[in-house]
């Protein structure tokens, strides 16, 4: 009887697997196939072996786009986490007893609810060097006499993207961090305070250890999302990486190869190279974040092996 019902179970979960296979698994393998072909988006793909990979790996623009992506992601993730940690410090400080956490949680998260396209359109207007509101305000207030080239100098454009990304995502990190700090007993913070610990000692010894797993989670998901940075840099300028290729991220590169130049094989190969890079970096992050538990695991295994060997010797 039990066996019969267990078969029905497969039927119940089948729809998910069908959808997953059709919309996730199939594109993954089809992209892999395309990465060995020359394909303009119609007709039959022409198999050309590893040539698309060799062309992408030799393309300085690909590496430049990777470096742009890392720079924008790096600045964003540091600012995002730093801002979220500062806010967590303020909101979890038992001395300040800041009220309105629920309200601020919503306010900080709001930018994340606005569509990236809308955010990009707004900031493109705000940051325009010649006609933008920001330069106008700064000029009217007497802070600048010459317009700042927010979107026409590559470095400033990249930092603008990082700033926009930080603004969009710090609320998300804050909510995750504050949730894990709130899981720690308040008694611990009070006991530390009674014992004479200052704010930074509390941060180092209680707050950070309590949010460490979440920081690693934010780092890894941020990395996966960050290396796929696309919407804001694509929409903020011309969609082709202007200024001076500064906003050409890896996914903007891939998108343009496929949809602007109809070079689907090149785009597919670049996608798989990006996939490999993300996998390697994610593994490195995981190892770095779990060093102590990995060390403990290997120490335990070594201990077990030694005890086994000791047992045999006896």
């Amino acid at each position: 009887m039990e066996k019969k019902y267990s078969k029905y179970g497969y039927g119940f979960i089948a729809p998910f697997f069908l959808v997953f296979a059709t919309f996730s698994l199939y594109p993954v393998f089809y992209t892999l196939y395309l990465s060995f072909t020359r394909y303009p988006g119609y007709g039959k793909p022409e198999f050309i072996g590893l040539k698309p990979y060799s062309l992408v790996l030799q393309d300085s623009m690909f590496w430049e786009s990777l470096s742009n992506t890392i720079r924008m992601w790096g600045v964003n993730i540091v600012l995002q986490i730093a801002l979220a940690v500062v806010l967590v410090m303020i909101f979890s400080d038992i001395k300040y007893k800041v009220k309105g956490l629920k309200f601020f949680r919503v306010v900080y998260y709001l930018p994340n609810l606005i569509s990236a396209a809308v955010v990009a359109m707004i900031f493109a207007k705000v940051l325009d060097s010649n006609y933008g509101i920001l330069n106008e305000i700064l000029g009217k207030m007497g802070f600048i006499t010459e317009p700042i080239k927010w979107l026409t100098k590559p470095f400033l454009a990249q930092m603008s993207v990082s700033g926009v990304q930080t603004w969009m995502w710090f609320g998300n990190s804050f909510i995750l961090f504050i949730a894990s700090v709130q899981a720690v007993s308040k008694d611990l913070f009070e006991a530390a305070r009674v014992d004479g610990a200052n704010r930074f000692q509390i941060l180092r010894n209680i707050t950070i250890p309590s949010i460490k797993p979440i920081v690693i989670y934010v780092l890894i998901t941020g990395l996966i999302g960050g290396l796929q940075l696309f919407d804001i840099p694509y929409l903020l300028t011309d969609g082709l990486g202007a200024p001076s290729g500064g906003l050409n991220t890896v996914v903007v590169y891939i998108y343009n190869k496929a949809f602007t130049y109809n070079a689907y094989g090149i785009a597919a190969a670049a996608s798989y190279i990006l996939f490999t890079i993300i996998t390697i970096v994610a593994i490195v992050f995981l190892i770095m974040g779990n060093r102590s538990s990995i060390k403990a695991h290997f120490a335990k295994r070594k201990e077990m092996r030694l005890s086994k060997e000791g047992g045999r010797n006896e």
Binding site: P40, G41, Y42, V56, Y131, E146
Partner: protein, 490 residues
């Protein structure tokens, strides 16, 4: 359980039969423009063919509009798989070329020949050569056709031109003359817009006359003149590789863009207001306002549809006393009469003829509803009475002489252009367009080169040679199949 299984099997069988039904009950049209619906083409077709008592009574017409930017990436997989594919599809010229390359389009000429109401020879003679030519596939069979021609021109503000160049020899002297805008247009076209070198000199003169005046809003305005000739070289040579002659042809244009560039508006020969930005539109009115200054832009490169849909809505308007006025959002005809165009625009041809856009109609090769699809094409392309009415309504330039000749002859002139007969100019320009040099790679190569020109103008490349070398490296990666060694770098 068995009953449930039987029910599912029967249901599946019914669906299968429904799928096998050979009589189509729906005509599916995919388009990147809302024009077909806005201009009443769908309603007209329904009235003629699917209304009660008509040939295809009760047939549903489904129109799927996909925005231009994502049209190709949406329609190509659909055409490739055939699932949910359209019976009738629209496309711009380069899209049609890709559809033809992939063999998606039906032989329109064969369908025309099979129809007693359509005479291929008469239609071919009636249509502009370039429109007919552009709809032919590699075998020379017609697969797509457009009701419109879309040649471009340079539209400019006559009053600004008069301020800047009014004292130069030959500039028309009587602003009260009825054909003043036309006379100024001819003079400006012949003296200021006739070559790439003239365009550069004109920009310098405009800026020198008044530091807040600019000829163009941004350098995109000159991209249509990259060839600088009505007989441009092909992007690909006879071996299907990138053509060195085309590169050499582009060098004056590359240098022009470099010369026009300035990081600030003060340093630039343009107003640094990118195409389609709010400031770009604002420049068509009185002025653009930036941090400290106001800027006046004199000219815009636009095709036929640009005057109606882009420039006129942004133009300055005046009331009966000649004072500036604005139309209310929902303007009546009376409002439009009380607040009319200032009439201060002219139009001139640039260094070479060009076209931009255009909507072609085609039928999918594997469509099950080809007969109905052809009826739709007939209603759109071969019903000349209806086309004449449509042209009178939208004022656009059409591709058949049977419609345009009477329209041009009876045209009273465009008020926004001070009464100029823009239809006549556009129709004459269309006749100069030669598509024998167009290749499948044109748009892609122009975009790719454009990226490197941008790097050159902003100083990322020090020299023209470095710019071209960078472009070739990009072609080698992206479009490896057309790359060849030994391309010119100067």
């Amino acid at each position: 359980m068995k009953k449930i299984l039987s029910f599912i099997l029967v249901l599946g069988f019914v669906f299968l039969l429904a799928g096998c039904n050979s009589t189509p009950d729906k005509l599916v049209i995919w388009t990147f423009t809302t024009d077909l619906e806005v201009a009443g083409d769908i309603t007209n077709f329904e009235d003629q063919y699917t209304a009660e008592g008509k040939m295809y009574e009760g047939m549903e017409v489904e129109v799927i509009v996909v925005e231009t930017a994502t049209y190709m990436q949406t329609i190509l997989p659909v055409l490739e798989s055939g699932v949910g594919a359209p019976d009738v599809l629209t496309g711009e010229l380069d899209m049609i070329q890709q559809f033809n390359e992939a063999g998606y389009l039906a032989d329109l000429e064969a369908l025309m020949e099979a129809d007693v109401d359509v005479d291929v020879a008469i239609e071919k003679a009636d249509y502009q050569d370039y429109i007919w030519q552009s709809g032919e596939n590699a075998d020379g069979n017609l697969t797509a056709l457009s009701w419109q021609v879309t040649p471009g021109a340079i539209f400019f503000k006559v009053d600004l031109a008069e301020e800047v160049w009014g004292d130069q020899a030959g500039f028309p002297t009587d602003p009260t003359a009825t054909d003043y805008n036309a006379l100024v247009s001819t003079w400006v076209g012949n003296n200021k817009f006739d070559s790439l070198a003239s365009l550069l000199a004109a920009q310098i003169e405009v800026k020198a006359f008044d530091s807040s005046y600019r000829l163009f809003s941004d350098d995109q305005a000159v991209r249509h003149f990259a060839a600088g000739t009505d007989s441009p070289a092909k992007w690909l040579d006879s071996d299907g590789k990138i053509n060195p002659a085309k590169i050499t042809e582009q060098i004056p244009y590359i240098n022009l863009v470099k010369d026009m560039y300035g990081e600030t508006i003060e340093d630039s020969l343009t107003a640094n207001a990118g195409e389609w930005s709010g400031e770009w539109f604002a420049g068509m009115g009185e002025k653009i306002t930036s941090l400290d200054d106001d800027w006046k832009v004199m000219a815009y490169s636009m095709p036929t549809w640009g005057i109606t849909y882009v420039i006129e809505p942004s133009m300055e308007r005046v009331d009966a006393d000649g004072d500036a006025c604005t139309l209310p959002e929902t303007a009546t005809d009376a409002d439009k009469l009380a607040c009319t165009y200032k009439g201060n625009w002219g139009m001139a041809t640039g260094p070479n003829s060009y076209f931009w856009g255009g909507t072609y109609l085609a039928i999918r090769e594997d469509s099950k509803a080809q007969e109905v699809a052809f009826a739709f094409i007939k209603s759109m392309l071969f019903d000349k009475d209806r086309l004449a009415e449509r042209q009178a309504e939208d004022g656009d330039t059409y591709s058949m002489s049977s419609v345009m000749d009477p329209a041009i002859a009876s045209y009273e002139g465009r008020p926004s252009l001070g009464g100029m007969n823009h239809l006549e100019i556009f129709y004459a320009e269309a006749a100069k367009i030669d598509l024998s040099n167009v290749t499948l790679y044109d748009r892609r190569l122009s975009t790719l080169l454009g990226n490197h020109i941008n790097l050159y103008k902003t100083g990322d490349y020090d020299t023209l040679a470095a710019t071209l070398t960078g472009f070739y490296a990009d072609v080698e990666t992206t479009l490896n199949e057309i790359y060849q060694e030994g391309l010119p770098t100067s």
